[in-house]
Amino acid sequence: MRVTVTVNGTTETHDVETRMLLVHYLREVRGLTGTNIGCDTTSCGACTVLLDGESVKSCTLLAVQADGGEITTIEGMAAPDGTLHPIQQAFHEHHGLQCGFCTPGMVMAVASLLKEHPDPTEAEVREGLEGNLCRCTGYHNIVQAVLAAAHSGELVP
């Protein structure tokens, strides 16, 4: 089936199998391998991307469901000149990652979370990231990074 999807501002049309998952479309058709496949069972959140501005798990969507939609992946977060997005910068400064596998999904989940809760409490951050697993950090520095990003004054609402 023919699908037209805008990914990080670039619109392309491709013929895909109807059973193709969105995450495979992003990685294999669009060549954007920043979005990881972790558990493949809607649990770990490593494959989180934004669909029309909201976080979704791209292993649990068909590419055909995203037809006509706008996707943002981790590759779309930094500025074209390489300047990190404020959320990425906060993860960097607060050591919000160790191995980095969960980080792309974590950053996208945070982008969605901060849209819904621009000034979150620590508890709201912890609850808001319940769909993303990290096996390295114990979450503490991720939470610190999210709070720092929220209060950086650099996020466009």
Binding site: M1, E17, T41, G45, V56, L62, E130
Partner: protein, 275 residues
């Protein structure tokens, strides 16, 4: 994990969906948000020949005050129900439970109609609508019919919907106060080991998550409450007549005990909220 091949059709209306369902009801499945069906398809536990995507059917995502009840469109996503002003004011139990489903990503996609039609006994929303005496509105080739929640959940992943019908609206009674929801799980985002939805406004209703092959009412507790029993005594009868499952999370015996504990907490909380 990749689903088995299927033919994909995108419905523009309920009529489209019903027409395609009627062609081959047994091998056609409706796809709304996909957060119950796609995981099953990836595991090849579901292998529909035709997938009818109703996710974009207009006019089925709403939460409306309908006078004596609140009407919810079947395609209303959990997140939209969670933040709906109408739901928060008139059926706060439902708004709260919608905010407990899965995790934020799941709530951005999953729909109330999809969750209820899936009929998983471990899901939170079936218990909530059972406690709220909901009426399910189903459309099909023989027209529209209403199904009481107490007749809707038939068994494990089985509802009263016929294979050629589509759930289109859920109507719940207003219960602005005197409610509680309790859920126990071991990890964030997990299914409830046991959950409880209690509504004390009007006739007391207590519904349980994961205490049988489908969502069930705690009839023993309801009877005791109707007879004027205290919360602790009513809660002691929570598992009466029920056969909860045993799995790697908990034995049936553990679940029976947990149900009495959670029901007691829910009754105390609901009574306090009623004031």
């Amino acid at each position: 994990m990749i689903p088995a091949s299927f033919e994909y059709r995108r419905a523009g209306s309920v009529e489209d969906a019903l027409g395609w369902l009627a062609e081959d009801p047994d091998s056609t499945k409706l796809l709304a948000g996909g957060h119950s069906l796609l995981p099953l398809m990836k595991l090849r536990l579901a292998t529909p020949g035709v997938l009818v995507d109703v996710g974009r059917v207009p006019g089925l995502s709403y939460v409306r005050d309908a006078g004596d009840h609140v009407a919810i469109g079947a395609l209303t996503r959990h997140r939209d129900l969670e933040i709906s002003e109408v739901a928060r004011a008139s059926v706060p139990l439902l708004a709260h439970v919608a905010g407990q489903v899965g995790d934020p990503q799941v709530r951005h996609r999953g729909t109330i109609g999809g969750s209820l039609a899936h009929g998983d006994p471990a899901s939170d929303l079936p218990a909530a609508v059972l406690a709220l005496d909901a009426t399910m509105v189903a459309d099909g080739p023989r027209g529209r019919r209403e199904i009481a929640a107490s007749d809707f959940f038939r068994g494990f992943l089985e509802t009263a919907l016929e294979p050629d019908e589509m759930l289109t609206e859920i109507r719940v009674r207003k219960a602005p106060s005197g409610w509680a929801f309790q859920k126990f799980n071991r990890r964030a985002q997990d299914w409830a080991i046991v959950g409880v939805a209690a509504v004390l406004d009007g006739e007391p209703r207590v519904a349980l998550v994961n205490m049988g092959s489908t969502t069930v009412r705690a009839r023993g507790t309801e009877e005791a409450l109707a007879a004027g029993a205290e919360a602790a005594d009513a809660a002691a009868r929570a598992a009466e007549g029920l056969e909860p499952p045993s799995d790697l999370h908990a034995s049936a015996e553990y679940r029976r005990h947990l149900a009495t504990v959670l029901v007691r907490r829910a009754l105390v909380e609901a009574a306090a909220a009623r004031g």
